[in-house]
């Protein structure tokens, strides 16, 4: 790799560089500066700068860090990776803001430095994962993302559940990443390369043993399935989500999932797709019945998520199951194996970012004040705290997918893609799932509004800045439900892969 291409490549990864600098800054501040109250704000500024670079990087469509003897790079900086970088960074910014508000983490003043170092590390891993096209890079990015998240989920070490969550997460995580590594080595053995582009070129031109290839693909799916908590690799999710601090739970449910999804999309598209037909459908290599496998995973993920959520009394756990269900819907978008499907996933993710984080934020505020996450302790809160109640209602309705909220638009585009691909029966299952999900989302509204407030029900007044934050999250959810042109234009613009 000559120095010129290195400089070009470094120019392409400015968001990642910013986060790396941020990581060191946070450590330095923590070590040498007594007052660690500024650390969250430094993190916030770092993330914002990185976000600006990610947005300015939208037009890029290039290989970065190509090795001397290869035309393919370790990273592909293309619009779709920038789109998911924006999602990850927005989610991180919101989560840092949540952390500033949260009482839960505030109690750990002394360990603030650690907390933000770990968050920055996770963000770095996610950013690399959105672009990675080489399995070495992919694996490193994935571990960079996973290791801090194991620690963060156990961050409230004084709480029993937190330790349990962390341990469970580590064990599941290391097993699945081990299996994935094995799958990667099989794939390397078959194709002689770790680069997705090279693998694609090899598979296009050579005939290979489909059985081994299929096995390696399934093993890699285990690793991805773990990250996006798809059935049957979801077992860790409810416990980890319940045991972790809410801020981390919300972070895992959006940002970490986004990174997993873009990796899955890139894995299928770059590794196994031979161009795109005029109609937008992918000419996928006939290795494997991708569609059936993905549909089965997606449908079982959403069904299990929704039905398990029905019985939860702990709100955080309920939201955990609901996020499993949402992963199922988004997987359906990928299962269509077309540009339309990916567009639907992107629209879905953008909306999901706001509605899911919004729901977590309000639940966090309530849980901080009520000192409980049990739904029965939330009786009548909507009546005593009208604005927070209203906001939670909007977020939950959007999660259900009812108009006029943006959640409806995201589901609508998903169903567009499904009907367009003639997957009617899948669309029917997904729609019936929506009806099931209505029950548990509305159950929260029932407790919030239909039950009379008791003596114990607190009147929660938040500061203007918190209300502003909530309003900022509400606006896209309501606006894009009524006028979704900008959202769709943006997603469409970003729906573009690097093709070598």
């Amino acid at each position: 790799m000559d120095i010129n291409s290195l400089i070009v490549s470094l120019n392409l990864i400015k968001p990642e560089i910013v986060i790396t600098i941020l990581l060191f800054l946070v450590i330095a501040f923590d070590l040498f500066y007594k007052d660690n109250a500024v650390i969250p704000y430094i993190t916030l500024i770092g993330l914002l700068v990185s976000l600006v670079f990610a947005i300015t990087g939208l037009p890029f469509k290039e290989n970065a860090f190509s090795l001397t003897n290869s035309q393919y790079g370790l990273l592909a900086i293309d619009p779709i990776s920038s789109f998911f970088k924006i999602i990850v960074l927005l989610a991180s910014i919101f989560v840092v803001l949540f952390t500033i508000i949260s009482d839960e983490v505030e109690n750990l003043k002394i360990r603030k430095g650690e907390f933000y170092t770990l968050i920055s590390g996770m963000v770095l891993g996610m950013l690399f994962l959105t672009s990675a096209t080489d399995f070495v890079m992919i694996y490193v990015a994935m571990e960079l993302l996973s290791l801090p998240s194991y620690v963060l989920s156990g961050f409230m070490r004084l709480r029993d559940r937190s330790g349990e969550a962390s341990l469970k997460y580590v064990i599941y995580g290391s097993v699945s990443s081990g299996i994935m590594l094995f799958g990667i080595s099989l794939l390397f053995g078959i194709t002689g390369s770790t680069n997705l582009f090279a693998i694609n070129a090899y598979l296009t031109n050579q005939s290979i043993n489909y059985l081994t290839l299929g096995l390696s693909i399934i093993m890699i799916f285990v690793g991805i399935g773990f990250k996006i908590s798809a059935v049957p690799f979801h077992f860790w999710t409810p416990d980890v989500y319940e045991g972790s601090p809410i801020t981390i739970t919300s972070f895992l449910s959006v940002a970490s999932k986004a990174a997993g999804f873009i990796f899955l999309i890139r894995f299928i598209f770059t590794g196994f797709t031979n161009g795109v037909a005029q109609s937008g459908f992918w000419n996928i290599l006939p290795v494997f019945d991708w569609q059936t496998l993905l549909i089965i995973i997606a449908v079982s993920t959403m069904t299990l998520g929704n039905f398990s959520a029905l019985w939860q009394d702990n709100l955080k756990r309920m939201l955990a199951f609901s996020s499993i269900a949402h992963a199922g819907y988004m997987l359906l978008g990928i299962a269509v194996l077309s540009n339309q499907g990916i567009l639907a996933v992107m629209v879905y993710f953008f909306v999901y970012l706001f509605m899911n984080l919004g729901a977590f934020l309000i639940v966090m505020i309530f849980a901080d004040k009520i000192q409980s996450e049990n739904i029965d302790d939330f009786r009548g809160v909507g009546l005593t705290s009208p604005f927070l109640g209203f906001a939670l209602a909007v977020f939950l309705i959007s999660l259900t997918g009812l108009p006029p909220t943006a959640g409806f638009i995201s589901k609508l585009y998903l169903f567009f893609a499904l009907v367009d691909a003639n997957l009617i029966y899948v669309a029917v299952i997904a729609l019936l799932n929506t009806v099931v999900s209505l029950y548990y989302y509305v159950r929260v509204l029932k407790h919030l509004y239909l039950s009379k407030p008791t003596e114990a029900t607190p009147v929660i007044k938040m500061s203007y800045s918190v209300n502003l934050l909530i309003t900022i999250m509400l606006i896209p959810v309501l606006l894009f439900g009524i006028y979704f042109t900008p959202l769709l234009d943006f997603a469409k613009m970003c729906m573009s892969f690097l093709i070598n």
Binding site: V276, Q278, S279, G280, S338, N339, Q340, L343, L383, I397, L402, P403, P404, F408, L412, F415, F416, V419, D420, N422, I424, A427, V428, L431, L432, T434, V435, L438, Y439, V442, R443, L445, K446, Y449, L450, Y483, F484, T485, L488, D489, K492
Partner: protein, 529 residues
């Protein structure tokens, strides 16, 4: 009036009121109520203006040029790329003779329900805000001519309704509210799927000559707009139009509510507060039958013809089954709820005849049922407010104590039975004439007439048990109607009697459009040969 967006105004006026209300502090209950009243009254005034400007000779139904008060502006337009067609959704409103009676009904019943809400004292601000949002949803459904818009308004009503039943309802309100919500959403997800299927099967030609997929309901009624391979296109030999029709029908049937999807209705009615029962029975149920006439009939005419016998069958079941259930009720309000099931059966029967007389009767029955049942629920509310019980057996001989009230009750009951001179008689007669003229459903029509006898049976029996016989001394404290109740009941009585004596006032509005619709459904074939 040309160019004045009267339909936008009539639809969104309540939302405007809702915004005002949210700005009023919650202690100023009177101001909140007054704002709502002004908005809903203005809505009725606008509906009156619309009626005065209405052209009785314009057909509508499937051609945009003969719709009235049309507003069509671009709402969403996203230019396409190679793999994704242009997305274009219009904000498209308009009325014809089928929707005009429904607009009048919505405006009128909303006002009555609002007056009836005057006594609400719990979370006044929330109640009226939700009430107005509900009003916008209802009005929007009746004036939309774009499927997407229709669907948005259709779903917009669910949430306010859930809260209105769930917060201000009776003892089992939570159960009733969620049952209503889930039932309706279950129906509407199928509607969503049909909507998407139709979208991918219908194209509209833009001014620059390019063809784009469309949600325009009128475009879906023209065979030439269908694509060659859309899943709901008649040109596609493997199309799913039949299944889509059933799915759409189920979506609407739940709202009507048609047997066997009617079980949410008695629960919702019994638990809902009086004004919400009035809205529910007066307007919401009509949306199901309206949807059939506006969407299912003209978009799937060949399947409608094929299935008319089944529609009539379900109509007949509704009529007889509803009446039998009503007869067995001990709760006054539940009895009225089941009588609604029975009366909506007439609408289905009239529609199933596919004759203009039958459909005229059906739409007229929709309007009349709206006014008569609204009155019946108000009547139940009056006695419940005073006695705090609705058990029919608890009363007796009230006529001697509450003579004026009994007078109104008698009018409403006779109207519900279909006594000549009242509006219900005309519409039921039209329904039977229309249905009887079609040999295929003649037997079902004959069976349905049983409903009239049963109707007279349960209504008169109820009248006897509550108002005649020995006076129950327990109720000696009861007072007769107050001014507010007069204000609600008198206009309803006037309309019921006026339309009974001079039905042309309403029939003339709908007649042209109904003729067009009946002709369209009978003669249009989307089949290939």
């Amino acid at each position: 009036m040309e160019g004045f967006p009267i339909l936008t105004l009539i639809t969104f006026l309540p939302v405007l009121g809702m915004i005002f209300i949210l700005l009023i502090p919650k202690e100023s209950k009177f101001q909140i109520k007054l704002t709502s009243l002004v908005m809903v009254a203005l809505q009725l005034v606008l509906a009156g203006i619309m009626m005065s400007q209405f052209n009785y000779n314009a057909g509508g139904v499937f051609e945009q040029s003969s719709f009235q008060f049309v507003e069509k502006v671009k709402w969403i337009e996203i230019p396409g790329v190679s793999w994704l067609g242009t997305v274009k959704i219009d904000y498209f409103l308009g009325v014809d003779g089928i929707s005009m009676p429904m607009v009048l009904l919505t405006a009128f019943v909303s006002l009555i329900a609002l007056i009836s809400s005057w006594k609400i004292d719990k979370s006044v601000k929330g109640y009226f805000a939700l009430f107005l949002l509900l009003d916008t949803g209802m009005m929007g459904v009746f004036v939309s001519l774009d499927f997407f818009l229709f669907y948005v308004f259709w779903e917009l009503m669910l949430l306010p309704m859930y809260f209105l039943i769930g917060i201000w309802g009776g003892p089992r309100k939570e159960y009733a509210a969620i049952k209503f919500f889930i039932y309706t959403l279950f129906g509407s997800v199928f509607m969503l799927l049909v909507m998407i299927g139709l979208y991918f099967s219908t194209t509209e030609t833009l001014t620059n000559g390019s063809k784009v997929f469309t949600f325009n309901l009128l475009a879906m009624m023209d065979k030439t707009n269908f694509t060659a391979d859309g899943i709901l296109s008649p040109f596609n030999p493997h199309n799913l139009r039949f299944i889509a029709y059933i799915a759409l029908f189920v979506g609407f049937a739940i709202k009507i509510p048609m047997f066997p999807f009617h079980t949410w209705l008695p629960d919702a009615h019994v638990e809902a507060p009086t004004p919400i029962s009035v809205i529910l029975a007066g307007v919401l149920l009509k949306m199901g039958t309206y949807g059939l006439l506006r969407i299912s009939y003209p978009i799937f005419p060949e399947i409608t013809r094929e299935l008319m016998w089944y529609i009539a069958l379900f109509g007949a079941i509704n009529i007889v089954y509803g009446a039998l259930c009503a007869m067995a009720q001990k709760d006054f309000k539940k009895l009225i709820a089941y009588s609604s099931v029975s009366h909506m059966g007439y609408v289905l029967l009239g529609m199933a005849s596919l004759t203009s007389v039958g459909i005229n009767g059906a739409i007229f029955q929709m309007f009349n049922h709206g006014t008569i049942t609204a009155m019946l629920f108000l009547i139940v509310g009056v006695v419940y407010d005073r006695a705090h019980t609705r058990g029919i057996e608890d009363f007796g001989g009230l006529a001697s104590k509450l003579p004026v009230y009994t007078g109104f009750v008698t009018v409403a009951f006779f109207a519900a039975i279909g006594l000549p001179g009242m509006s219900g008689f005309i519409s039921e007669a039209f329904v039977f004439v229309g249905a009887f003229s079609v040999p295929a459903i003649r037997i079902l029509t004959v069976v349905s007439t049983l409903g009239i006898v049963l109707g007279a049976g349960y209504m008169l029996w109820t009248l006897q048990r509550i108002f005649f016989g020995k006076f129950n001394e327990k109720w000696s404290e009861l007072t007769d109607l107050d001014t507010r109740e007069y204000v609600m009941l008198i206009p309803l009585t006037i309309i019921i009697i006026f339309l009974g004596v001079y039905p042309s006032a309403m029939l003339n509005i709908m007649n042209t459009s109904v003729n067009v619709l009946a002709k369209f459904v009978n003669e249009t074939s989307f089949l290939l040969n």
